[in-house]
Amino acid sequence: MLGAGILKGLAETARNFLGSYVDKDRLTTVQFPEERAPRIEASRNFPFLVYDGTAKQEGLRCVSCLICEKECPPKCIFIEKSTDKKPDATGKLQFYPATFNIDISVCMSCQICVEVCPFNAIKMDVDFELSTTDRFSDLLWNKERLAKSNEYYREIHPIEAAAVDAELAEARARVAGAKAVTTSPPAQPSSGSSVEK
């Protein structure tokens, strides 16, 4: 009969209306600036550069291999290679990025840079409050702004970070073991194997 569904719908909304005053569990609203929803591990928004230890720039894992720059679909990453080299996370001498900029107004959060990075240097952040007052300089993030510690990475993506840490520890152990075996020749920096260009 016409009208029965209407009454059913009205009863449902009336139950919601009254219930929201009686039962606080019904109200799922998060009062945003004061309250935060728990961060979801699988969420991602915008890439950042991981650094080891305490030195923000020296500890960067990035060796400026330029793979992420090449693979980035919207071409939002701009890297300039350094002229000199310095030891990386595993102790090998490597290039480092002289400049590493990401245009966050272009980035589409596809995570391809993370997937292709062979050094676990770039990871996805969960920070979503990226609003700025300046639409030019504030939207182009440089490497100082992009650098975030490994501890932060462990905090936001614990499972992923544990796997990365284990992998890096293994690599370091391998390098240390190789050094221990071949102590006789002078410390020859292994050149060219990991950095093509």
Binding site: M1, L2, G3, I6, G9, L10, E12, T13, A14, N16, F17, G19, S20, Y21, R26, L27, T28, T29, Q31
Partner: protein
């Protein structure tokens, strides 16, 4: 002070104030003293309603609703007002400037004119016209003109088509709206709103003689309220503004306070038609029981008005928007036959002597066509279960 004095306090104070005026100025003074309260009270009610509506809709959807501005968010209308006042008033370069400017004003004016014949309390009506109900519907149809002025003068195809939709809807629902009200005119034998309320303000025992408590009155009230919802462009009949489909329809080219005026006009129209529904079916300012007559009449009027507004909000929070063909189908295939049958039923009621028989006959005359009509309308529909591949 006796309850009678409190009931008539506004009327007494008006006459007291008029006593200090020279005789030549008294007619205009009386008009101003009657009109200004309406111009103050109902826009204020609009402001209160907007925040209550948003909070009510929020609660219906298990949200808090506005809760930032002021205590419990009750200063939200002030913030909204400041916002719409400070917004830039953009007028399209090719728009008809004069008509574009006049349309929102005419809409608000048309909405206000209806209040002239609404008895807000005992002896509290601006003018007691002999053709009050007719006047109400006549000025109510000015809204269509204002809507079309807005849509046409904007020189935009979106707003023009939006206006056409809105006018088509409003005219379609104007027909059942008036036809639903005719049963009251038949029963009371008067077009004067004051006379209609006076007829209902009597009691048998404790029970009032509202027209709602008759089969044709009840059906008429339901049909009237459905038509009034469509007439005031409220959900589920808010197709003219359909923000997700046509984005604000006829007032798409309006910004700032002119846009707010459209909302004001819409709400004032809603209050006015609700007020008329109260006057026609719910006994106007009359108390619902004879032992409650000591409460002032205007309080009863506004209590009934607020109840109807709450129902409007409830309905808005419950139902999704109709499609245009569903809307027109409801108006012409369901509302129109039902209102015509209702007029017939009211006539039958008049000729059957008082008793259980006329209740039975008249109820049957309404319920049977309603069931048949709803079944007939449903059978033509091919209802099927839809499967969505991507949304589980």
């Amino acid at each position: 002070m006796t309850p009678e004095t409190i009931d008539q306090i506004f009327v007494i104070s008006k006459h007291w104030l008029l006593g200090y005026m020279p005789t030549a100025l008294q007619p205009i003074g009386s008009a101003i003293l009657s009109v200004v309260p309406v111009l103050v009270v109902f826009p204020l009610l609009f402001a209160i309603t907007t925040v209550l509506e948003r909070k009510g809709l929020g609660r219906i959807q298990n949200r808090y609703g506005p809760n930032r501005v002021g205590p419990y968010g009750f200063w939200q209308p002030i913030a909204d007002g400041i916002k719409s006042l400070t917004k830039e008033d953009v007028v399209p370069r090719t728009a008809d400037q004069v008509v574009h400017f006049l349309a929102p004003l005419l809409l608000v004016l048309a909405a206000f004119l209806g209040y002239a014949v609404l008895p807000i309390g005992k002896n509290m009506v601006i003018t007691n016209l002999n053709a009050g109900v007719l006047f109400f519907f006549a000025v109510g149809s000015m809204v269509e003109l204002a809507v079309f002025m807005a849509g046409w003068s904007s020189r935009s195809k979106y707003s023009l088509l939006g206006a056409m939709r809105a006018v088509a809807q409003m005219i379609s629902y104007e027909v059942p709206l008036v036809l639903a009200a005719i049963v009251i005119i038949m029963a009371s034998g008067s077009l004067s709103t004051v006379a209609i309320v006076n007829m209902q303000a009597t009691y048998t025992g404790i029970w009032p003689h509202w027209f709602l408590f008759t089969p044709w009155g009840f059906a008429g009230f339901i049909l009237f309220m459905i038509a009034a919802t469509a007439e005031s462009n409220r959900a589920p009949f808010d197709l003219p503004e359909g923000e997700s489909e046509i984005i604000a329809g006829y007032y798409i080219e309006y910004s700032g306070f002119k846009f707010a005026l459209f909302f004001l006009g819409e709400y004032l129209g809603m209050f006015a038609t609700s007020g008329l529904a109260i006057t026609l079916f719910l006994g106007g300012w009359a108390a619902p029981f004879s032992f409650l007559t000591w409460i002032p009449s205007y309080i009863w009027f506004f209590l009934k008005l607020l109840t109807l507004i709450a129902v409007f909000i409830w309905v808005r929070g419950t139902f999704p928007r109709l499609r245009m063909d569903q809307l027109m189908g409801l108006a012409w295939k369901f509302m129109l036959p039902m209102t015509l049958l209702n007029i017939f039923t009211a006539g039958i009621w008049h000729f059957i002597p008082e008793g259980i028989l006329r209740w039975l006959v008249c109820s049957l005359l309404i319920v049977a066509p309603w069931i048949l009509l709803s079944r007939g309308l449903k059978q033509r529909k091919k209802l099927q279960v839809r499967t969505y591949r991507f949304a589980e």
